[in-house]
Every structure is written in structure tokens, then in C-alpha cells.
């Protein structure tokens, strides 16, 4: 059970704390040189901010000696899911679901961290002074919420999540808690995602209407691409779905995890005539790129929650907006917060202001964390820049779904 590479060790699920307190505190200080380092107090009197605080690296659990989805390298990181703004390379030790680890290895190479251990969903483990559990988040393959408990206080770090069914990943599981830490990518009442199936239907109707034109669908490489393919298959479409090269490896990974996506040949290998009437998936940046010139008179579509807003679609030259998102929409954000029964809500990134306001009107404690780094530092890919089909590193291959602060077209 114990994986020990380098200096750090994850305790077994049943376990005792592997390190004495001094060591632990020491590592916290190096990882999080903030005022919180000396905030350690005995377990019985813990409050939620003792369990989880914010440091420049991201959310930090000082008494567990780890960070969650840190944006800079740390000694120990718990990772919620594989999008590049949450899962970064270079940490000392990483604990994440097996699928997330596989995604990280695929993108960054096997040496993406000093050591890596797979967390089994639902299994409790003791880390330092806290108990930790990974629970499905319904966002992308392998995505998980992280439940932290100590001193009778339970905090759920949801990472990114959605409530809508997704054939490519496990459904979100609700965990009642005291403090719920949520994203707010679509934290405005204008965001109400339609059923993804009806959006895919729209795509298929357009394909039937323009049998001579290619349908070029912009999708994020991790999660969205595979979900859209799975939905297209569910709708009974069994012709090949052509892929941009940047989508291939993660799609293969999904397939090897047992997600049936049918035949997905490479678009670059196909003749132009072959692509008339075909569905072609590409990263958003490629839809207005030179790359798309290989397609016969393409109808440009884009599958993203941002497509709710017309200006967004027009900015990207999208003719067929498909509102398909891997994030919770406004109603699901509100519903989820209510259903967890949390008395306190922290909002990590996205449209914090509106969600915090709503929580307060509901009598809930709420605060925005204004976390930088989730999307904020990512390169916008609003389409004007051309990106090579085989970029040198994973960072540029898929900018993840994290919506940068509030607005880039990333993610979603």
C-alpha cells in the first residue's frame, strides 16, 4: 500500500501518520511559507481554517502536510483531476485517482512527480492529522472530490464538477459536509446548460442538412472530446469521427479505460473528399487555424458552456454553438451547495462574486478565494493564434477546462 519514492511517503489507508509532527510541520513550512504555518493547534479545537488554508501554491492542509491542486511545485499534492491547471508536473509526491495519474503520465511523461500513488475512490486514509477520501466528481475521467475530515469538521474540495450524466466518467457523488469548496466557472444565472444530448442532436441535424460540408467541432482535448464522441455514438451515429492529432493520445487513453468511442481516424490522413459530411473534432485553437483549410467548406461548431453567450460564439467565428459543458451550471452549483448542507462555502475560481452573493442570500457563510492560477495564468486560446498539431509539451496541447478567472474560452 505504501508507495515510497524519494523522501515522502503516503500513509496506508488504515494508517497512522507516517511522520512525526516535527517533520510534518517542517515540510509544511517549506511548502507554505505563510502565516498559517504556526497556526497549528490541537485537533480537538480545530476549525475549518485550521484544516484548510490558502497559500500562494493553492489550497493547503497544514495539519495533513499537503496541498490540493497546487499551481506551483510542492512536496505533496493531492490532485482532483487531470486538467493542466489543476494537475501540474513537478510535485514531490502526488496522490490522485489511478485515471488521473494515467492522464498526468500521458501528458507530462512518467516522471511527472517524485512519487505517485493511486487513491481508491471511497477509501479513507489518514494523512497527518486528517482523514482523506476521494469521491467521484463527474467532471472528466478520474475526476474526484477530496473529502477532508478532522476534529469533527468535514470539508469537501470539489475540484471541478458537474451533475449532468456523462458516459465517460463516474457520476458526481454528493457528500454532506460542513464546508463546501466549489468552483464557479459558470457561476452566473445566465448559464443554464441544456441537456448535452439535445445539443449533439443539433449537430447531427446540421450534418444531415449539409451532407457535403465537414462539421468541425472545437473540443477540449481532455474530457470534452471524449464525451462528445460518446454522445454522438449514443445518438446512433456510427461513421468514423475524425480527430485532430492533438486529441489522439487522450482519446486512446479513454478507450483503454473501456470507454467505447468507435472508429476515430486521424483527420490529417483523410482525403478532402472523404471529409465532406464528416464530423471532425479539433482543439478550439485549430478551428480557425490553417489546419481547418483541409476540410471542405466546414461548419464551425464549438462544444462549450461559453456558447450560451452569443458574443462568445461570435468571437470565435462559431456558426453552430453547442452548449455542452463539463462544469456545473448555475442551477447545479446552487443546488449542490444546498444539498451538501454546508454552512460555509468557499468559492475557488470563476464567477465568484455572483455565487458568493447567492450563498449569502441563502443565509450561508461564503467567501471568494480569488484563486489565481486556475486558468488565469493559462494561455488564452481564443483562436487567433495558430498552434502546431504536435506541440512540444502537454501544456500547450490542451489548456484544460479550467476557465481562467472569468473569461477566457478555456475549459467549460
Amino acid at each position: 500500500m505504501v508507495c515510497c519514492i524519494g523522501r515522502l511517503t503516503w500513509s496506508p489507508a488504515t494508517g497512522r501518520a507516517p511522520q512525526d509532527r516535527a517533520t510534518l510541520t517542517g515540510s509544511v513550512i517549506t511548502a507554505a511559507p505563510s502565516a498559517d504555518a504556526d497556526a497549528y493547534i490541537p485537533a480537538m479545537a480545530l476549525t475549518c481554517t485550521d484544516i484548510l488554508t490558502q497559500t500562494p501554491q493553492g489550497l493547503c492542509c497544514p495539519i495533513g502536510g499537503f496541498h490540493i491542486d497546487p499551481v506551483r511545485p510542492v512536496e505533496r499534492a493531492l490532485i482532483t483531476h487531470g486538467h493542466s491547471d489543476h494537475a501540474r508536473a513537478g510535485h514531490g509526491a502526488v496522490l490522485a485517482t489511478r485515471e488521473t495519474l494515467a492522464i498526468m503520465a500521458e501528458r507530462y511523461g512518467e516522471g511527472f512527480a517524485g512519487s505517485a500513488e493511486a487513491a481508491r475512490l471511497g477509501e479513507e486514509r489518514r494523512i497527518g492529522e486528517v482523514t482523506v477520501r476521494f469521491v467521484p466528481a463527474g467532471h472528466v475521467l478520474g475526476s474526484a472530490q477530496i473529502v477532508i475530515e478532522a476534529g469533527g469538521c468535514r470539508i469537501v474540495v470539489s475540484g471541478d464538477y458537474k451533475r449532468e450524466p456523462d458516459p465517460t466518467c463516474l457520476a458526481f457523488e454528493l457528500v454532506p459536509c460542513d464546508v463546501f469548496i466549489t468552483e464557479a466557472t459558470f457561476g452566473l444565472p445566465v448559464f443554464r446548460h441544456p441537456e448535452a444530448r439535445s445539443e449533439v442532436q443539433k449537430l447531427l441535424e446540421s450534418v444531415a442538412l449539409f451532407p457535403e460540408r465537414a462539421h468541425l467541432v472545437g473540443v477540449y482535448a481532455l474530457g470534452k472530446a471524449q464525451r462528445v464522441m460518446a454522445l454522438i455514438r449514443e445518438a446512433g451515429y456510427d461513421r468514423p469521427i475524425y480527430l485532430h492529432g492533438a486529441l489522439e493520445r487522450l482519446t486512446e487513453l479513454y478507450k483503454s479505460e473501456g470507454v467505447d468511442l468507435g472508429e476515430t481516424p486521424k483527420a490529417t490522413g483523410a482525403r478532402k473528399s472523404e471529409l465532406g459530411g464528416a464530423i471532425v473534432l479539433a482543439p478550439p485553437s485549430a478551428t480557425q487555424d490553417l489546419w481547418s483549410r483541409r476540410l471542405p467548406d466546414p461548419v464551425t461548431a464549438f462544444a462549450s458552456g461559453w456558447m450560451r453567450v452569443r458574443a462568445r460564439a461570435r468571437q470565435k467565428g462559431v456558426e453552430l454553438p453547442l452548449v455542452i459543458s463539463d462544469h456545473a451550471d448555475w442551477e447545479d452549483l446552487c443546488r449542490t451547495i444546498a444539498e451538501t448542507g454546508a454552512g460555509e462555502v468557499w468559492v475557488t475560481h470563476g464567477q465568484e462574486d455572483a455565487l458568493v452573493h447567492w450563498c449569502r442570500t441563502q443565509g450561508l457563510e461564503a467567501r471568494p478565494l480569488h484563486m489565481l492560477g486556475y486558468g488565469d495564468e493559462e494561455e488564452g486560446d481564443l483562436g487567433a493564434s495558430s498552434r502546431p498539431e504536435h506541440p512540444p509539451d502537454a501544456e500547450s496541447r490542451d489548456r484544460g477546462e479550467a476557465d481562467p478567472a472569468e473569461d477566457s474560452l478555456e475549459g467549460a
Binding site: 445566465v190 441544456p194 444530448r197 461570435r314 444546498a338 487567433a384 472569468e406 473569461d407
Partner: protein, 622 residues
């Protein structure tokens, strides 16, 4: 309403002009009167309602929704109609789902206790939340139904008003009845139709269709030149049944009952210095480019012999009512193209002065006396019944000179030609208009117009005939201080930049904001600027972010602007005219940005010689 909605929706996403034309022509061909006529009126911007205004929409929104959430959403979406269309909550009784989940409206609900029935197992088939009064997404119709844009896209309601009904209602309802009427429609319309309805009310469709394009689509129905439609347009009224009958060959050409029709203007291209080498100076004529407002003055006799006089804006809007003093002077039959200026004691006043006249809502005798309107003409499109547009410019000029001489009215004069025999000579005149014959009017000149002597008057912006050669702008290196999100197409970008220059303050050197620019950069630069703003945010004030700036950190923008004026509204005491980002100086350290003294010098020079005549204007006005 459904067909019209579908049309607007498709137009909004269709980037190609020809495809837009096809979509519109198809709609006109398959939609009966009077529906299509009202649609045409909407797309040409003819519809305007007395009480149905954006304020009404805001009022409804604030009533039905949490105002904080509404304003945050509006700020984000950047478009009032779209925001309300997306957020509009279901009416308690209108949704078939409402019965099952009916609970009190959310915003008003108190503590959380009662409604928090936590049920972890419910996650797969959750009860829709109704606390916000937001309607849950309905199940999509089997097979996808029509081009259903999605969720919150309600199922088609049983009673959808026609476009004619909507237009009728908006025109005739009393001010007090209107809110309930509009709210009732919003309740039954689906999301896209709500958007279309609200667009009708705000009057700005923003679907990338100009009035000209819509008229072209009508013309295409019957293979008629678009200018023909343009020519009779101002004599027509919605819903344009006569017009459609004519283009469909079912009726006669509607008589241009308006004896003073608008004719689409001929526009110019900017001239770059390098273009000059390719052009032969001998083929061209030049005039000053006046810093005023382009107008078209048209007069014609009605059958009863009465003279109809009209002043049109460049876009064909009848603005006669704003310039009664000028209308009075129009004692001719024909159509003149020229520039609206304010003249005092035969001196052309600056654009700043002109703006004083333009910005007033009501035209009082005092305003007319203080800011007398003047028309400086440079072209003639028609004289009497005769259309002169096909004649070469040099010939039209002769006719124009004759007409102006005959008019002999001090309010209307000729824009003089600028003599030149080589481009160098013209360049010298452009650099120093005062010395080249413009004299004291040089202050209101923003460059030269260069026109081919043999050019006919071609509506639109034909290539290679007319050029504008504007003065070089002023430039200043300023430091980016704040950024705000844009609107419309740029709603997601930090695209409005407030910049400052250095000045000596009480606590040493400080940056003082001097202006705001929101264009001048490419889309790619915008993305980079946007990213810069996000990554260097120090403070947030609602939609505005303050970025990092100081002697050694920050971003320098080279800002171009046309003029400066003193302003008590700005901390720096100056206001820029037409500022835009000329270059982004990623390389330049902020400490090397310009100081306020640089602007003071331009201001002083401008007051003395070129642009900002503000001070003199003030002097003259008092």
C-alpha cells in the same frame, strides 16, 4: 415571432455576407405580409417605440430577478437584451413543470433550514431547484425538435404572438400597461424569442446586418439594383407591402412620393503614404478634409409645388429637425453632399464646438444663435430632376459651383480645392493648411480628401477613387493603469484601457490617468493584453481591474490621439480626442513613459494653432 426569431438567430451566427443575404431573401420570400415588412423595419432600424425602451427592460429585470445577480450577469454578457433573455425566470403558472416543483420564489426566501432537504441519493434524478425562480431545463422534445437552441430554451409555448402583434402592442400600449404586456410575452416565449423581442425594444439588433444589407436582400428578391430600393425607401412606410409587391412583380414601382430622397453616400479609403507612388497626381483633385459631420441636403418639389427640404445623416437618417437654421437656407432643387460645421464670424469652429450643438436634445433659438449651423459642400448628386451621379467629379464640381453661386446664401459655401501639382506639394499643404490657403480655418481641418477627377459618384466605398489623407496623430507613451471589460463582441475581454503619464505629486512622481483607449490593436494583441491584465491584476473594482504599475513594472502603451482639450472632469485636467492604442511597448520600461508636461505642450500648441480650439471657443461663446 418564431420565424423572425429563427432568422435573427441564424443571422447572428452567420459571418458571411452572402449567406446573410440568402437567409434574409429566403425569409422574405417565404414569410407573408405584413410579418416580413415588420421584420424589414426592424432590421433597417426604422422601428422605434415611444415607451418601449431599454429602461423598461431594466425595470422588469430588477422586478423579477435579484438585482445583484442581474447586474453581475449583465456586466458579464455585455448585452442587456441577451442577459435578460437568458436569465428570465419562469412565470409561476406558465410552466407545465411548475406545478410539480412549485415552491416559493427564491430570492425572498429566508433561512436555509426548510428548503435544505438533503438527499444524497437524489443526485441522479434531482428535483429541480426553484429557489431562484429559475425554471429547470425541460426535457428536450423527442428527436431534437426544431433548431432548439437549448436549455432554458423553454418548450414552445402554446400561444406565441406574431411579430405584427408584438409591434402593434409595443406601439399602442399605454405606458402603464406596457410592463405587464412585455412580461407576459417574455413568460410565453422561449429564450431565443425573448432575445429577439428584447432586441426589438432596445432597437439594436446587433446581428451584423446593416440597413443597406437588408434592403439589398429585398432587392435580390426581384433582381433589382439595391440603389433602386434605396431611392424609393424614404417614401415608404412599414410594413412595406407596396415594396414587396413591386420587387415580386405584382405591383407597380412605388412612387418616390418623397421628392427629397436620400442617396447613399460615396465613401473614401484611407491613404497611406506608400500608395502615393502608385498614383498619378495629375488625375486627382484635392479638398480639405473638414472635421465636421457629413450631411446630405436634399430639396425637391411636391406635386402641389411645395418645396420639401431635408437634411440626412451619412447613414440616411433624417436629421432635419436638429438644424432648422440650415434647413431654412436650402433654397434649391437637388441634392448636395457636404460637411456640417459651426461658423462664427466666418471662422470654422473646432469639432468640440460643433459637439456642443449636436449633444443637445432640444434645439432652442439660443442654441441656434450660439452655434449657427453651416454647410460646406463638396459634391452635387442631383440638380432639379437630373441625376448627376454618373458625371465625372470635375463636371459635377462645375455644376456645384454654379448652384452655390446662384444660391448666394452665407450658410452654404463651397469647400475650396487645394491646388497641387505633385504629391509633395499636397503633402506640404496637408502639413500646414494655414499656409496653403486655409488660413484661420486650418484648425478645423483634419487632412485632405484626394479624389479622382474622373470619378463618378458611386455609392458605398469603391476602390481607387476617393482617399482620405488624415493628419498624423499626436503620440504619447503612457502606462497602463486600469482595464475594463468591453461590451458586445468583446464582452469577455479586458479591452478598455485607462492609461496615465507621470507627473510630480506630493509624494514624488506619480502616474495620473489621462485617457482611455479601446481600439487600435489587433485581435491577437487584444488576447495578449487581456492575458497581461489578468496576470497583473492588483485590485478589482467590479468590472474594472487595476494592474500593476510603477517605475519599474507595468506596461507602456503608445497612444495616438487627434487632439487634447482641457477638462475639469479628469484628474489630469486634460481630455483626449479619439485616443487609440498605436503600439504596445512591451519593451519599454514604464519609467521612460511620457510626462504630463508633454501633453501640456501639445495642449498649448493646439490652443494656439491646430486642434483644440476649446479655449477660443469658450472665449467666443461668452
Amino acid at each position: 415571432m418564431n420565424r423572425f426569431t429563427a432568422l435573427l438567430d441564424r443571422l447572428a451566427y452567420e459571418p458571411r455576407r452572402n449567406a446573410k443575404l440568402r437567409l434574409m431573401a429566403d425569409y422574405f420570400a417565404h414569410t407573408p405580409d405584413p410579418e416580413r415588412g415588420w421584420a424589414l423595419a426592424a432590421m433597417t432600424g426604422v422601428l422605434s417605440f415611444r415607451y418601449a425602451k431599454p429602461g423598461l427592460i431594466r425595470g422588469l429585470a430588477e422586478e423579477r430577478m435579484d438585482p445583484t445577480l442581474f447586474y453581475l450577469s449583465w456586466d458579464y454578457v455585455g448585452d442587456l437584451s441577451e442577459t435578460v433573455a437568458l436569465m428570465w425566470p419562469a412565470a409561476p403558472s406558465s410552466s407545465p413543470l411548475a406545478g410539480e416543483v412549485a415552491r416559493p420564489q427564491a430570492g425572498s426566501e429566508g433561512g436555509r433550514g426548510a428548503e435544505l432537504e438533503i438527499d444524497a441519493t437524489a443526485s441522479s434524478t434531482p428535483a429541480p431547484p426553484t429557489r431562484l425562480g429559475l425554471r429547470p431545463s425541460p426535457p428536450s422534445p423527442p428527436g431534437g425538435g426544431e433548431y432548439a437552441p437549448g436549455i432554458g430554451h423553454n418548450t414552445p409555448p402554446p400561444h406565441v404572438p406574431t411579430l405584427s402583434e408584438v409591434v402593434h402592442g409595443l406601439s399602442t400600449a399605454s405606458k402603464s400597461d406596457l410592463p405587464a404586456l412585455v412580461a407576459g410575452w417574455l413568460d410565453v416565449l422561449d429564450e431565443t424569442a425573448r432575445w429577439a423581442l428584447l432586441k426589438l425594444i432596445t432597437g439594436e439588433l446587433r446581428i451584423g446586418v446593416s440597413a443597406r444589407l437588408a434592403k439589398t436582400a429585398v432587392a435580390n428578391l426581384g433582381d433589382i439594383p439595391p440603389d433602386e430600393v434605396e431611392h424609393i425607401w424614404h417614401g415608404l412606410e412599414p410594413p412595406y407591402e407596396e415594396l414587396f409587391a413591386w420587387v415580386e412583380r405584382r405591383g407597380p414601382r412605388p412612387e418616390s412620393r418623397d421628392p427629397a430622397p436620400f442617396r447613399p453616400p460615396m465613401l473614401s479609403h484611407p491613404l497611406e503614404e506608400e500608395d502615393l507612388a502608385k498614383l498619378d497626381a495629375a488625375h486627382f483633385m484635392a479638398e480639405w478634409k473638414w472635421d465636421g459631420i457629413r450631411l446630405q441636403a436634399v430639396c425637391g418639389r411636391r406635386p402641389d409645388g411645395r418645396l420639401v427640404r431635408r437634411i440626412y445623416s451619412r447613414t440616411g437618417e433624417d436629421v432635419s429637425r436638429a438644424f432648422p437654421d440650415l434647413v431654412e437656407a436650402l433654397e434649391f432643387e437637388g441634392a448636395l453632399d457636404g460637411e456640417l460645421l459651426i461658423l462664427r464670424e466666418d471662422r470654422v469652429q473646432s469639432f468640440n464646438v460643433l459637439q456642443q450643438r449636436l449633444n443637445r436634445r432640444s434645439v432652442t433659438p439660443k442654441l441656434v444663435a450660439e452655434y449657427p449651423a453651416h454647410l460646406r459642400v463638396y459634391d452635387i448628386l442631383a440638380e432639379g430632376e437630373e441625376d448627376l451621379r454618373a458625371l465625372p467629379l470635375v463636371e459635377r464640381r462645375r455644376r456645384l459651383e454654379g448652384l452655390v453661386a446662384q444660391l448666394a446664401n452665407p450658410r452654404i459655401d463651397l469647400s475650396p480645392l487645394v491646388p497641387f501639382s505633385s504629391w509633395d506639394e499636397l503633402a506640404a499643404a496637408r502639413r500646414d493648411p494655414a499656409a496653403a490657403g486655409a488660413g484661420e480655418d486650418a484648425a478645423a481641418i483634419e487632412g485632405c480628401m484626394v479624389k479622382r477627377a474622373d470619378s463618378s459618384y458611386v455609392p458605398g466605398r469603391p476602390k481607387g477613387l476617393w482617399f482620405k489623407w488624415k493628419r498624423d496623430p499626436h503620440l504619447v507613451d503612457a502606462v497602463l493603469m486600469y482595464a475594463a471589460r468591453g461590451s458586445g463582441k468583446r464582452s469577455s475581454f479586458y479591452s478598455d484601457y485607462t492609461f496615465g503619464v507621470w507627473r510630480g505629486g506630493e509624494e514624488g512622481e506619480e502616474l495620473v490617468p489621462v485617457g482611455k483607449a479601446y481600439f487600435g490593436f489587433t485581435d491577437e494583441e487584444l488576447q495578449r493584453l487581456d492575458r497581461y491584465v489578468r496576470n497583473h491584476t492588483m485590485n478589482r473594482f467590479g468590472p474594472v481591474r487595476e494592474v500593476e504599475y510603477g517605475k519599474d513594472k507595468g506596461l507602456v502603451l503608445e497612444v495616438a490621439f487627434e487632439g487634447l482639450q482641457r477638462s475639469s472632469r479628469h484628474k489630469s485636467g486634460v481630455a483626449m480626442r479619439f485616443p487609440r492604442v498605436h503600439r504596445i511597448r512591451w519593451d519599454k520600461p514604464p519609467r521612460e513613459a511620457d510626462r504630463i508636461e508633454a501633453l501640456e505642450r501639445i495642449l498649448a500648441r493646439g490652443e494656439a494653432e491646430v486642434y483644440p480650439l476649446k479655449e477660443q471657443a469658450k472665449g467666443a461663446a461668452s
